[in-house]
């Protein structure tokens, strides 16, 4: 039986996180991958390809305009979830993977709002004890109120 504190997380929605997609941030991200696709680097090439600015590689949604704590990537809802789960006695964390649905391109200059929701938390019996699977769904909407992407992340704790 899952602890009440953990069960209370299910269905919880975080505050919208405003993310700026800056040109330089796109290039640093592409450079870290070693991806020199001109769509991410060359303004003119991006325009010839039908975009009004360089685009972000699929999976990059910019940086939050502000953040608390040492990990900008960890949104408050996710941090709260991890904290509650660890306090409930599940020590180790594993990245259980991620699913993306890309609906529109993300371009330099876009301002996205990311809203995350804890979709489910389930416990299964593993070979070496209990394993917790938590699923967090996030939607990204741009400044024109268009849905640009949806993600579904699985976090595994044991």
């Amino acid at each position: 039986m899952l602890e009440e504190q953990v069960m209370k997380l299910v269905g919880k929605t975080g505050d919208g996180i405003v993310m700026e997609v800056e040109k330089g941030a796109i290039k640093r991200y592409a450079d870290a991958i070693g991806d020199y696709n001109p769509l991410y680097w060359d303004e003119e090439y991006a325009r010839e390809s039908g975009f009004d600015a360089i685009v972000a590689p699929p999976g990059f949604f910019g940086w939050p305009v502000s953040w608390d704590g040492p990990m900008p990537i960890l949104v408050p809802l996710m941090a709260e979830m991890m904290d509650t789960i660890i306090k409930a006695g599940y020590g180790s964390i594993l990245d259980g993977g991620i699913d993306y649905e890309f609906l529109r391109p993300v371009r330099a200059g876009d301002v996205l709002t990311a809203i995350s929701r804890i979709a489910s938390i389930t416990e299964r019996e593993g070979k070496s004890g209990k394993i917790l699977f938590s699923i967090v769904e996030t939607t990204y909407v741009n400044q024109d109120n268009e849905l640009v992407a949806k993600t579904r992340q699985t976090v595994i704790n044991r």
Binding site: Y29, N37, P57, P72, I73, L94, G97, I98, Y100, F102
Partner: protein, 151 residues
Amino acid sequence: MVSQISWENIKVGDEIPALPKVATTQMLVKWAGATGDFNPIHYEDGFAAAHGIGKPIIHGQLKRAWLVQLITDWIGRAGTIEKFSCQFKAIDYPRQMKSMTEPAEGETHWCKGLVKKKYADGDKHYLECEMWIQNGKGEKTTLANATIIFR
């Protein structure tokens, strides 16, 4: 670098041109800075050892990004990724740096993939692909699937 393919010429079973990646500690520092993932497990020896993985490991999301690049390098401007999913099966380690710019000898990670399905829905043309990363021992450490839509 960016190829131009067409949906018509692709067959189920076709291989996606493999993409080799040499991960270095330098690359991991860049990725941390570019994404805001500052987990010490990716850059601190002692921290990584205390977590039972021996030494710093490659960010899972960086491996995911390589597999996205495998697809985008291949399809160029002919199509876009509509769906993409990624699962991590085993951890991977970066190479050390030999100089400011060169990696030390070591493992190369190969991103590979296959076309699994090809179909049309009205005037929309789709491919479904399966991808993976193979480590130096030939083991698949990362698995992914993508649905690609062609214009």
